[in-house]
């Protein structure tokens, strides 16, 4: 049986180091299997988050050979095994221990998003073509890989100014819900900081659910905000309306 070398980051907020382990390969094995092998055979206290091991829960995000990925979905045989495989925690969020990071910020900002608000007398009729836009964003499994690769969050740590791609698709999903009546444009501009996104599309590239985060959610949101706040014709029109 062939053996892979796996280097895992071990440490906590006070620092840490890479540890190398030898893991026997099995057909179809994924990186998370290797981590589990290490836990069971070498280091029982190796910290990793995972739940389903079927790419549905989004818990096992990490950086494999420097690339953000779900470890349960990254097959060992997709990696060059003549070199050691490196597994590191995601970078944008503070480390707790080993591969586990503190993602609580995401839960805090999410609470601030104004929830779904239907009209009181709603008749609950919707058509497939109208729900599909929002359905795309509701596929999100909250792995936070998009948050991890977003330059605004990762390199500039602008967490006070910008909610990141995950939360923008959450807002897009509500805004595009056929029966929602809430207006989140001011919220998008002022609090969620949609203007910060400079459309590098890194988030879209890493999304394991293949959601078109940039094209289908963020750009349309930016356009809505721009139309409302920066379109001179609409601006004048809104003044007349206000005067009525």
């Amino acid at each position: 049986m062939s053996v892979a070398k796996v280097r895992v980051y071990r440490g906590d907020k006070n620092g840490g180091e890479e540890m190398e382990y030898e893991v026997p390969l099995e057909e179809g094995m994924v990186v998370l299997d290797a981590i589990h092998f290490i836990q069971a055979n070498y280091d029982g206290d190796l910290a990793v988050r995972w739940n389903c091991k079927a790419a549905k829960c989004g818990s096992c995000s990490a950086e494999v050979n420097g690339m953000p990925a779900l470890t349960c979905k990254t097959r060992m045989d997709s990696l060059p095994l003549d070199k050691p495989v490196t597994v590191y925690p995601v970078k944008t969020f503070p480390i707790i221990k080993d591969l586990v990071t503190d993602v609580s910020w995401n839960y805090e900002v999410r609470k601030k998003i104004p929830p779904f608000t239907p009209a009181k007398d709603t008749e609950w009729i919707m058509y497939q073509e109208d729900v599909e836009r929002s359905q795309e964003f509701r596929k999100c499994i909250e792995c936070f890989l998009c948050q991890n690769v977003c330059h605004i969050l990762r390199n500039h740590d602008e967490k006070n100014e910008f909610f990141g791609p995950r939360m923008l698709i959450k807002i897009a999903e509500l805004e595009m819900h056929p029966l929602d009546t809430e207006d989140r444009k001011e919220f998008l501009r002022e609090q969620a900081g949609v203007g910060y996104c400079n459309i590098t599309k890194c988030c879209t590239e890493v999304c394991p659910e293949h959601i078109h985060i940039t094209d289908n959610a963020i750009i349309p949101l930016k356009e809505r905000v721009a139309d409302t706040y920066f379109d001179p014709l609409l601006w004048i029109f809104s003044k007349f309306k206000a005067a009525d």
Partner: protein
């Protein structure tokens, strides 16, 4: 004794899957102060993995459907062992609960005239499952999560409850630890709702997430509640068999609901032999046994399963209706299911047995202790119909929240006591693995437990096998009393596994003992030495597990009498 933080709530909900979230939302709506505790991050519960749909007689696609037919199907699916009152409430209330989700923002697939779309599923007479492609559970969790975080409850994420606390006979709180720091935490509460899901991690080949270690079953048992029907473990007929590292991952029943066909290696559509009328849409127990039999008799696929083929429906249709399955096979097995068949084999999926509860309030036999969802027993009898789990957790999640809030409201005095001796015992028990200089690796013990359960209490059972299994479990229990772990208390999965193992061992023993006692085959419980159902003796009783002076006691209790009008529905023909 070390100091630890204390929180006080009217109601503590343990588990934040569908049932727990729905319960917490309801209890909050009733004005109770609610603490929602979950082992993982919010939104990662096993419910996200539910794929096919939620069963509710909305009659949007098949106009003739109604709660009576749903009740009829459920009772027959459960081989009449169901708590009829639960099955009745479930069938009656499921449509309202689904519509309510829509009102909270859920986006189900639509019919041409703009209503919630419904699909066919095994054992259901009509097209009954409201769904969102094949990610219905995720849709439900997200909707409930959104509703929940705006409902005023406190959420304690990555927090594990290890002990329930009582004042005399009544529940008075719960004790546990933070996953991150390993620090202990005490909840004072008038009522506790268990919504901890199932037990699948006692088995090696399972569709369940790691959290399914039977915690709620074990907590209830240790607190003095009764468990019923633990022998009934559903083996979902279609788990992935290849490659080995994904063995057991679910292939949704929606594949069969959308027209998928099962074949053996000879190309024979073998369900024609076992259930010619319903074929692939037979109940899960029958389909699972049929696949198992085909493989046993040498007609299995190359990797020891059966072929499940949906490719005849065309690439576009498959990708639209079953997008997750398409990606799952493409990415894990390098198989394009729009062109090739899948290989499938039964996988441990769901436990029908659980905490004995009152149908209307979900109250257990311990005052102040409630249970809903998979951890509660009775609703599904000997076999659960697909789609009835998501509706179960909505209907009884809500009822649990209601029941617990009302109960808590009736306790006017605030004199519930927490016993210091109990707390001391709990902390000592938890810290023991750090003290054991010699001892076993919990991961090794877990692997052996999984081997034992698969080998001795699997799809087909015999007296001898189960007996051997019980003996092996006894030895393992002894070994598990001396677990040793390394490292600190901070985010230490090895340490966490010690407690999970404790729960799994209790559940496994209960399961094996019930399987040994029930000398018949019924639903998901197949005894090779008693191949037929024995309606005279075993068709009239539930198995009951309880704690008696530290020992596990097993017995039976008679089913309650079904009212005449419901009997008529059960006996009547539908379609």
């Amino acid at each position: 004794m070390e100091k630890y933080e204390t929180h006080t709530h009217d109601v503590i909900v343990i588990g934040a899957g569908g049932a727990g979230l729905r319960a917490a939302i309801e209890a909050s709506a009733q004005g109770a102060s609610v603490g929602l505790v979950c082992k993982s991050l919010l939104g990662k519960a096993h419910t996200v993995m539910a794929e096919g749909g939620v069963a509710a007689a909305l009659a949007n696609v098949d106009e003739k459907d109604d709660w009576k037919t749903h009740f009829h199907d459920t009772m027959h699916g459960g081989k009449m062992l169901n708590n009829w009152r639960m099955a009745q409430l479930h069938a009656q209330e499921a449509p309202e609960r689904v519509k309510e989700l829509e009102h909270w923002g859920a986006l189900f697939d639509r019919t041409k005239n703009g209503k919630i779309m419904q699909r066919a599923f095994g054992g259901h007479t009509w097209k009954r499952l409201a769904h969102v492609g094949d990610r219905t559970g995720l849709e439900m969790i997200r909707t409930l999560q959104d509703r929940g975080i705006h409902s005023g409850m406190d959420v304690y994420m990555e927090c594990t409850i290890t002990h329930l606390l009582k004042d005399g006979e009544r529940i008075s709180g719960a004790f546990g630890y933070w996953r991150e720091s390993g620090r202990f935490i005490l909840f004072k509460a008038k009522a506790v709702i268990l919504a901890t899901g199932g037990i699948g991690k006692a088995y090696k080949v399972t569709s369940n997430s790691w959290e399914y270690t039977g915690d709620g079953h074990a907590l209830a048992y240790e607190a003095g509640a009764e468990l019923i029907d633990m022998e009934f473990v559903q083996f979902h007929p279609t788990g992935m068999v290849w490659p080995p590292s994904v063995k057991g991952i679910l292939v949704t029943e929606a594949v069969r609901g959308e027209g998928g066909i099962l074949r053996n290696r000879e190309g024979e559509r073998f369900m024609e032999k076992y259930d010619p009328e319903r074929m692939e849409l037979s109940t899960r127990d029958i389909v699972a046994r049929s696949i198992y039999t085909e493989v046993q008799e040498g007609r299995g696929s190359p990797h020891g399963g059966a072929f499940l083929d949906i490719s005849h429906r065309g690439g576009e249709y498959v990708k639209k209706k079953l997008p997750s399955m398409y990606h799952q096979f493409m990415e894990f097995a390098e198989i394009d299911i729009t062109k090739e068949p899948m290989e499938v084999f039964p996988t441990t999926h769901y436990v029908m047995g659980g905490v004995r509860v009152d149908a209307d309030t979900t109250g257990s036999t311990v005052p102040g202790l409630f249970a809903a969802g998979e951890v509660a027993g009775g609703m599904h009898g000997a076999n659960r119909l697909g789609g009835n789990s998501l509706s179960d957790l909505l209907v009884f999640g809500r009822r649990a929240g209601l029941g617990a809030a009302q109960y808590a409201n009736e306790i006017r005095d605030n004199t519930l006591k927490i016993d210091d001796v109990d707390l001391e015992k709990a902390t000592e028990e938890m810290l023991q693995p750090f003290e054991n200089a010699e001892g076993e690796n919990p991961y090794t013990v877990h692997q052996e437990l999984q081997e034992i359960m698969g080998s001795y209490v699997g799809v087909f059972r015999t007296r001898e096998k189960i007996n051997e299994g019980i003996e092996e479990l006894g030895v393992l229990k002894e070994r598990a009393s001396q677990l040793r772990i390394e490292g600190s208390r901070m985010f230490n999965p090895g340490w966490h596994l010690c407690k999970d193992l404790h729960s799994m061992l209790i559940v496994s023993e209960a399961l094996a003992k019930c399987a040994y006692q029930r000398e018949e085959s019924r639903g998901a419980h197949s005894r090779v030495d008693f191949p037929d159902a024995d309606n005279e003796k075993w068709g009239k009783v539930n198995s009951v597990i309880s704690k008696d002076n530290g020992d596990m006691k097993i017995g039976t209790s008679p089913l309650s009498q079904m009212p005449e009008e419901l009997k008529k529905i059960v006996d009547g023909g539908y379609k």
